[in-house]
Amino acid sequence: VFTLHATGKGLESQGYFTQMSKDLPIDVPPEAPKEDGRPKWDNKFQYILSCIGFAVGLGNVWRFPYLCQIHGGGAFLIPYFIALIFEGIPLLHLELALGQCLRKGSISAWRAISPYLGGVGVGSWMVSVLVSLYYNTVLTWVMWYFVNSFQDPLPWSVCPLNENRTGLNEECYESTAVNYFWYRKTLNITPDIAESGTLQWWLVLCLAACWAIVYLCTIRGIETTGKAIYVTAIFPYLVLTIFLIHGLTLPGATEGLAYLFTPDLNVLKNPRVWLDAATQIFFSLSLAFGGLIAFSSYNPPKNDCEKDAVTVAIVNSLTSLYASIPVFSVLGFKATTGYWDCLDRNIISIINEFDLPEQSIMRQNYTDWITFLNSSYPEKIAGLRLKSCDLQEFLDQSVSGSGLAFIVFTQAIILMPGSQAWAILFFIMLFSLGLSSMFGNIEGVFTPLLELQIISKSIPKELLSGIICLVSFLIALCFTLSSGSYWIDIFDRYAGSLPLLVIAFFEVIGVVYVYKIKRFSEDVKWMTGRKLNLYWQITWRFISPLLLVIVFVAFVTLQIQKPPTYTAWNPKHEDFPVKEEKAYPPWVQAICVLLAVLPCIFVPLVALFQLVKRMWRSKDPSFLPPEVFSCQEVNRNFSHPKK
């Protein structure tokens, strides 16, 4: 150990030690860790659970089973898994590796990759904002149904009386009690999107509660969501298991499952099936939102992102499959009960008409009796106007989306004994599923904002998340108008679909051809400790971008082929309760186009802006070209603690 005394450095030495003064430079030896103050996950499990929770959402429950059903049952799994292998997993790995390497949110990360690609980050931030707005309103509906599930009997099981108490409410009587509760008591829907109606106060209250819950869970970023995710990501699996066990014991469950999984290989000839599989995988994994980049940016850099990506993608797909079993058991039960009701109604009519003793005609010998009576008294039978009861027809009534949860499933729940408990469980499960996806959406908005210099220094995290939630709540109030659900459909169809494809395409192209895949392979090798194998090279370079282009073109062609229409609930329509098909007015179509184009437009805009700036600046003699950026240099000084 040197002493200043021994080397005779001069009169500053007062002994063996000196006190620190502010002007002595401090040389930190390279082995000491440089902490960058970025929050981090408590443990790896939290991170994986957050990614899974983000990917597993409402679509796994109410979109995948529907697609399976209409596209030939088990045969749909073939295009689905092909899309998973060639599109889902590569894109997921790309995003996770990117975030982990650059340790920044989406906007800063893409700016770091290349200033020209900054627009990709802004685009994905924009999409996260738009999706957060309408996604939480769907959770509002779930919450409304949840608080109404504590009543006995369930409010959607009986029709209310009309004004003079002589009969049931007409709108309810003509459709069903479940439809009435959804369209009238919940949404109070107008017959046309142009008629906005008023704010529904009960929905405003539930919306406020939902945003309060989101604020509560995201108040300090991943510190709080990391704790909340343990509940919101694991609870749905518990409930799905309970529903699975109960659903399999219901009568008619096996018919529903057989209907769902019976493969019809002919559907593979239909290109629409392949397109649906590709889009389902893409949207189900929540790619291109920026949320995954944000999540993985809180990881230590030397983390095996390849294994994580494969894990998350496979768990997501398995969850879809797992969820479709109870859903279809319950739907099979509902179809069977409907079929039995139809038969019973016919039997009662026949017994009453012919004054036969009770229980002489049972469901089993119904067909024999019908043939016998038809041959002996055909006019009487014709006069009864019996409905033909066909189980296939009941099973064919397929619904996806909110209709599945709020109309079909609620009807099935009424038929189960102990319906309040089942309803409460079901809606809490939907709420957890949606909430864990909301965490990812909000992180995609929150993390990039936190990295903007102006914001991070002046306001604390709690205030920033509070402002985000408050502003989103105020904007989302327009979804609680009477025409709100039509607007949510528009946002879902246009803002939450097309821009994502564009952004993902530019993500892949940006990393592979602008940042150069060779450099990225080195970075990934540094992070995971393994060389990138051939599968990743081929999919990243050629297959995934190609698939994205094909899907995008097919998607746009299908949208353009016919003018966009929507189905409206109009009690005065002649075919009521069938919904009326209407075309969007031109101003609404303009908004649709705006929603689809707005996030995408940032990509060329920012590139152009940077180009102009660069050209202007290059005339300046003191201008230095930007440094070549490498992922490893960012993390050179970062050593993770030895476990």
């Binding site: 040197f2 030690f17 620190m20 401090i26 504590f150 309060a212 709690e462």
Partner: protein
């Protein structure tokens, strides 16, 4: 004499048969679904049950317009089928005409509950065709249940948010106090971060240090005392 009696009897029966027949004036069809309502505890429909029915209808007519004295024999049943369904009329005391249908209807509506209970049936399983039952108004509590549940949920959420925000503010205040204390102490020069040649001592405590042979040999230059 016997012949006269027989004649009057047959006339009366024919007259009564005329009064009660399907779709007769002031006649009502009744339909019972006993097996559906009671399942295994279903009773068989026999003459005794018919007698009870007649008694109930007579009771109903008596309660409705207390001036008339309707007898059980005033109630006529006919066309009983296996379904169990039949037609009935209520004749007046002279047994020649039937009581108007509106009166019978009103009477039965008033006492529907008593009739149902006598047979252990309900409005759906003991049907009087053409007589509609009054619908019971739904029971609505003064405060809707959902509002109560919602209030509970919202209170919990607000309490949790307030707790987290306050905890965050307190933590931040503590951190600020600590760092200002540290700065103050440094300015007063009381905190020493010991430095050797520009290198903080803590880092030198790393086990990664090397012992420099030149200086460890120093001890040998000096002779021990």
């Amino acid at each position: 004499m016997l012949q006269v009696l027989l004649l009057t009897f047959s006339v009366v029966t024919v007259a009564r048969a005329e009064l009660c027949k399907p779709d007769a004036q002031n006649a009502f069809k009744v339909r019972l679904s006993i097996k559906t309502a009671l399942g295994d505890n279903a009773y068989a429909w026999d003459a005794n049950e018919e007698y009870l029915f007649k008694a109930m209808v007579a009771f109903t007519m008596r309660r409705y317009s207390s001036k008339t004295t309707t007898q059980i024999s005033n109630v006529l049943l006919c066309n009983v089928t296996d379904r169990v369904s039949f037609w009935f009329v209520v004749t007046d005391s002279s047994k020649n005409t039937t009581v108007p249908g509106s009166e019978v209807e009103a009477a039965i509506r008033m006492n529907r509950n008593r009739i149902n209970n006598a047979f252990l049936l309900s409005d759906k399983t003991l049907q009087f065709l053409k007589i509609s039952s009054t619908l019971a108004p739904p029971v609505e509590p003064s405060t809707p249940v959902w509002l109560i549940v919602f209030g509970v949920v919202l209170c919990l959420i607000v309490a949790a948010i307030v707790f987290l925000v306050v905890a965050g503010i307190q933590q931040r205040k503590k951190k600020n106090k600590e760092s200002t204390e540290r700065e103050n102490l440094e300015e007063k020069g009381e905190v020493t971060i010991t430095i050797e040649n520009g290198i903080p001592c803590e880092t030198l405590d790393l086990k990664a240090g090397h012992i420099n042979g030149v200086f460890s040999a120093d001890d040998e230059r000096f002779t021990s005392l």
